[in-house]
């Protein structure tokens, strides 16, 4: 039961942050929101008992998001037209209702959780996954905070 509740909270965070990406005037905030949705997706992998994949997800998207952050810091971002928040929600809802039953409704509802992927790849340090995960999250948050401080106090001439 607690798994389902935590899954609902995390998925709500993912959906809200991914919709709010298109509503930001600054690309910096959009990138931070996308990072929030990626981090929450790694939490979903944790809930599914795929600890190794959660670690790898954080590792890989540190690289991807750092590229976006460089672009966000170095470029001037101005929106030509304001995107209507309701419009994007309506289009997303139409696509969702068109795709949902045809894809999700067909699949089996009685699927049983079988394995953890970490049992294939990481026998040795499986007990230390929460510690490693916390370390990576702290490093990532430190790097994000340093970029934000640079953005605030230093005028980059790129």
């Amino acid at each position: 039961m607690i798994e389902v509740i935590s899954f609902a909270i995390v998925s709500f965070i993912i959906l809200l942050s991914s919709i709010m990406i298109f509503y930001q005037k600054s690309i910096m905030r959009a990138v931070v929101l996308l990072t929030l949705s990626f981090g929450s997706s790694s939490l979903i992998f944790f809930i599914l008992n795929q600890n190794f994949i959660a670690l790898l997800q954080l590792f890989i998207f540190v690289g991807g998001m750092s590229t976006y952050l460089i672009v966000a810091v170095s470029s001037e971002y101005k929106k030509i037209k304001e995107i209507d928040f309701v419009k994007i929600c309506i289009v997303a809802a139409v696509i969702f209702s068109a795709v949902f039953l045809s894809i999700v409704g067909v699949t089996s509802n009685n699927a049983v959780q079988s394995t953890s992927m970490s049992s294939y790849f990481a026998y040795t340090f499986e007990n230390y996954f929460p510690l490693i995960y916390a370390t990576i999250v702290m490093l990532f948050l430190t790097s994000m905070g340093s970029v934000l401080i640079i953005r605030k106090y230093v005028k980059l001439m790129i």
Binding site: I14, L15, F22, L48, I53, Y77, K79, I88, A111, F121
Partner: protein, 102 residues
């Protein structure tokens, strides 16, 4: 115990948000962020199908690595092209995509 149905629902919702963003948004970098959302949905679907598969093997992990590699290469190459075109004064008009309408 989370049903597979919930995970696939999240995936479809993320894909629909990403497609709506690609269709509506006018800015190049924000379109890239929307494409990232679609990749995120595909990774969640891969992990979900691996977790609930009846005969699990490492093929799900290989697919996951493929998705990650494609996402990383796509980000870096497209942003390099974008910065190059900006630096050399080329116009990168995303409005030209509206010619695809009929």
């Amino acid at each position: 115990m989370i049903p597979l149905f919930y995970i696939l629902s999240i995936c479809v919702a993320l894909v629909s948000i990403g497609i709506a963003g690609v269709a509506i948004e006018k800015n190049f970098i924000t379109i890239m962020l929307a494409i990232e959302l679609i990749f995120l949905a595909s990774t969640i679907a891969f992990v979900g199908f691996f977790t609930y598969s009846a005969t699990p093997n490492a093929s799900g992990f290989i697919g996951l690595i493929t998705v990650w590699a494609v996402a990383a290469v796509e980000i870096i190459s497209l942003i390099a092209i974008y910065i190059y075109m900006k630096a050399n004064g080329f116009e990168f008009d995303i409005e030209l995509l509206s010619k695809l309408k009929w």
